[in-house]
């Protein structure tokens, strides 16, 4: 056995070093299926010390490292560049401590997002960032991707909810960033690390802010016959000054998929769009806001506004919405989801543009997205077995991203750059901005060993990009 490999076995134990080719193949992808890469090994550290020793050892051999939680990234964040070692955090999944005085939860990186809320809920608190993959995705991954979710409209993204983290640097050194007091002293290094997609450091312990559950929470589903009406209604809600906890939209194609999925709620099949709205806070305020929102919906010819009648019904509506991406498997062999953001007043125009793009390329596009913050998720349906299909979808995708950038938006709201948007990064940033980011990367990881080939466009990519 090679020295680099036998030392890894010494650090974590033989069962936790994987080199079987078929096993490695199961680690070749994450939630993004347009690319893949074969790792040279997968290592599963049992604690932070082991993780640090592994990174330090790999640094000595200049072997690249890619951290992985549940592998649910939608931009290829956890896809290894060929020959990298995957650091899989599935064994480190304990909630270490709940500090009720400071309202902080200390967790391992492999803790599942939804488990944090499950631990807090009985005591009247929750963990606010709720990506749609929350039943599986991990806090370590959320840290790397700065994950969002429907309720980030009101509560903010992961960045706003992590106060401190223990991080391993490229050379295996461990540092603690941030503080329990919340506000950073000096430069906000933690802020630099959150959302850096594993390219600057790997978190081994995280301290999260808990949020008090609202006293009142009401969930509405507004059913529309025209997409334009629904999107104008969204713009009006935002303009009214109300900040809903969540404001989501699904169009006809998306509804047809989720209604065939695991959590059908019974949306009529001739709907053009549904808006899912949640309003929470003090009871009296929420009741006023609900009235106002229903009035706004009616001004835009809503067919019907339903309200969830129980906690179970509310949970069902959300499960229906949150499994939408996976449900695409029911109507298409593959999908390519985008994550562009547009200024919210452009929503009606953006949806019309997406519709025109679908027609122009002769593809189907379903829309499921965070309407409230203008974060689009067009799901471009295709069949990977058909190369022409793949090309059409990629070209259409680029057109949509170009539209977002041109209108003052962004190429990504919450899914990250990963491998997927490396080309589009150049439209978003100027050369100077890119150079500044490359400087930060060199400062933290001079040898380019942490999650290479991601986030920053580099001349030669080592990951096999299909087709």
């Amino acid at each position: 056995m090679n020295e680099w490999l036998s030392s890894l076995v010494d650090i974590v134990g033989a069962p936790y070093v994987i080199t079987h080719p078929a096993a490695l193949k199961t680690y070749a992808q994450d939630g993004y299926t347009l690319a893949s890469g074969m790792p040279r090994a997968v290592v599963m550290p049992g604690n932070a010390e082991e993780a640090r020793a592994v990174v330090k050892h790999l640094y000595r051999h200049r072997i690249p490292v890619v951290a992985r939680g549940a592998g649910t990234s939608l931009s290829g964040g956890a896809i290894p560049s060929d020959g990298a070692v995957v650091l899989h955090f599935s064994r480190m999944r304990t909630i270490r401590h709940i500090d009720w005085t400071n309202q902080i939860v200390q967790v391992d990186p492999g803790v599942i997002n939804a488990e944090v809320t499950r631990a807090l809920e009985p005591y009247g608190y929750f963990y606010a960032p709720d990506p749609s993959s929350q039943q599986a995705c991990t806090i370590g991954g959320n840290f790397a991707e700065n994950s969002g979710g429907p309720h980030c409209l009101k509560y903010g993204v992961t960045l706003n909810h992590i106060v401190m983290a223990d991080v391993i640097l490229a050379n295996g050194e461990a540092v603690r960033l941030g503080s329990l007091a919340g506000e950073p002293e000096g430069l906000d290094w933690l802020g630099v690390l959150v959302g850096s997609e594993g390219t600057l450091g790997i978190a081994t312990q995280l301290w999260l802010k808990m949020t008090e559950s609202p006293t009142q929470s009401r969930t509405l589903a507004a059913l529309f016959d025209e997409v334009a009406d629904a999107s104008e209604a969204v713009s009006d809600v935002i303009a009214s000054g109300i900040v809903p906890a969540a404001l989501e939209m699904m169009d006809r194609l998306a509804i047809s998929a989720v209604e065939r999925g695991s959590y059908p709620v019974g949306y009529p099949d001739d709907l053009a769009a549904v808006l899912l709205l949640e309003l929470d806070g003090e009871a009296a305020v929420v009741d006023e806001e609900v009235k106002l929102v229903i009035d706004l919906m009616q001004r835009h010819h809503v067919r019907q506004v339903r309200e969830a009648q129980s906690l179970e019904e509310r949970a069902l509506w959300w499960a229906n919405r949150k499994t939408a991406f996976g449900a695409m498997g029911l109507i298409s062999p593959d999908y390519y989801v985008q994550d562009g953001v547009i200024p919210r007043h452009l929503l009606p125009d953006a949806l019309a543009f997406i519709d025109r793009t679908a027609r122009r390329y002769g593809i189907r596009i379903a829309n499921v997205f965070h309407a409230g913050d203008g974060n689009l998720h067009p799901l471009l349906l295709f069949d990977a077995a058909n190369p022409a299909d793949v090309e059409r979808v990629q070209a259409a995708g680029l057109d949509i991203l170009a539209y977002c950038v041109k209108h003052g938006g962004s190429i990504t709201g919450e899914h990250g750059i990963g491998l997927e948007k490396l080309d589009a990064v150049r439209w978003q940033f100027t050369e100077a901005e890119l150079a500044a980011q490359a400087m930060i990367k060199r400062l933290w990881d001079p040898d380019g060993l942490l999650n290479p080939g991601k986030v920053l466009p580099t001349p030669g990519r080592c990951v096999d990009f299909r087709p």
Binding site: Y27, A70, M328
Partner: protein
């Protein structure tokens, strides 16, 4: 048409539902990983090896992933098909084969019952204890999970049919239920009658075939399925009622088992007539009972909660019968029994059992489980841990409650 393997879009939402992934943390022990391996198995035969078949065969077939999959990828069914069709899939061991032989007909079942009874005599007990010393993995360890066995007759011989006509229920007595849990079958008949229904036990019924089907003997399972369908059709009954989660799912999946055979259409009609006794009873107005002074926690059998969506019924019935309920964490996570999985995968099975026993809340005095495999397995784990908590079928709990209140013959006082 999208093929089942292609239906997986790699979202990963199944990972946190998979007991073997949670236990090992390995992607190849997750549903998504197994689909990658199945694809590889089909497309690159030269790469097949024992390690891959082990990862595939570690699947409990608990269906938890199928229940949460947004795209309805039938991962459990696909692994099952692989087990049945692939020559390289691990074959059942000696203990499994013996059990599968015994459940093939009533004569074998009587032997199973006899063996169980002998193992509980003083001599039998010390023999078992002697044999188990230093043999952590022995299948005989399951003996420690047996309920006290007195009966010398199968339940099919104990339950008299009160045949009246087309409204009757065709009580499916199963195999292990028939021999080892004969009392539970009797209780099922009593409770269904208390609910005003008529019950028939058809001597022509065969084992549901689940164990054979899931262990690579599809033809045998198909044969019994056909016999069961014919017997039910000619009985004139309107409903098949079952009290074991594993049998329930197997009977309801006869259309899958018999797909492409001349019996397919009849299997569909049969499948729609199959109900669990807990489903039937919760549709009928049994009287609510006063507090029974016993705290119960419900373990959801995989083939109830994941395969059939049965979750509410046992809780509703137990509460109506006066039991205090307390929820355990991960009630719907597989206990590791998984049919006869525990015989072939002792390590994984033991790890899952330990997690199940740990999750039992301190207030609970009884764990309710509506499947013979779970009952045996969990009871064995409880006995080994030294706790006084016992595992019981919810129908047994219900029967005792209604009997103690004088609703059933011999009632008025607790046994």
């Amino acid at each position: 048409m999208v093929s089942p393997l292609d239906q997986c879009v790699h979202c990963g939402l199944c990972l946190s539902s998979c007991p073997t992934y949670l236990e090992t943390g390995l992607e190849m022990e997750s549903p998504r990983g197994r689909l990658v391996l199945l694809n590889l198995w089909a497309q690159a035969p030269e790469q097949r090896d024992a390690a891959i078949s082990q990862w595939l065969d570690d699947c409990l077939d608990c269906r938890a992933c199928e229940a949460v999959c947004p795209a309805h990828v039938p991962t459990g069914h696909l692994v099952e098909a692989w087990r049945g069709e692939s020559e390289d899939a691990p074959r059942p061991g000696r203990a499994q084969r013996l059990l599968m032989r015994l459940i093939e007909n009533p004569r074998g079942l009587k032997w199973l019952q006899r063996l169980g009874r002998w193992s509980q005599t003083r001599v039998g007990r010390s023999l078992v204890r002697w044999w188990l010393t230093g043999r952590e993995d022995s299948p005989l360890r399951l003996q420690q999970g047996l309920p006290p066995l007195q009966s010398r007759r199968l339940s099919r011989e104990q339950i008299t049919s009160n045949h009246r006509g087309p409204g009757d229920l065709w009580l499916f007595v199963g195999c292990v239920m028939d021999a080892i849990y004969a009392g539970t079958n009797r209780h099922a008949a009593d409770l269904l009658r208390l609910a005003g229904l008529t019950v028939v036990v058809d001597p022509r019924q065969r084992c549901c075939g689940a164990l054979h089907w899931h262990n690579g003997q599809r033809a045998q399972a198909q044969q019994w399925a056909q016999e069961n369908i014919e017997a039910f059709e000619s009985s004139g009954c309107r409903m098949v009622v079952v009290d074991a989660a594993g049998c329930l799912t197997a009977l309801r999946e006869y259309p899958v088992l018999l797909a492409g055979t001349p019996y397919e259409a009849r299997a569909h009609a049969f499948s729609q007539a199959v109900f669990d006794a807990l489903e039937v009873l919760s549709q009928h107005p049994l009287p609510p009972l006063p507090d029974q002074g016993l705290t119960v926690t419900v373990h959801d059998a995989c083939h109830h909660v994941h395969a059939q969506g049965i979750r509410h019924q046992p809780r509703f019935l137990l509460e109506r019968a006066g039991y205090r309920l307390v929820e355990m964490a991960n009630a719907s996570q597989c206990c590791g029994s998984a049919g006869i999985y525990n015989l072939a995968h002792p390590d994984m099975s033991r790890a899952l059992l330990a997690a199940k026993v740990r999750a039992i809340p301190p207030q609970a005095e009884v764990v309710s489980a509506a499947n013979p495999g779970c009952l045996l397995h969990i009871q064995q784990g409880l006995a080994a841990s030294g706790t006084p908590v016992t595992a019981q079928h919810p129908l047994d709990l219900l029967w005792h409650a209604y009997r103690s209140q004088g609703y059933l013959p011999g009632g008025g006082a607790r046994e």
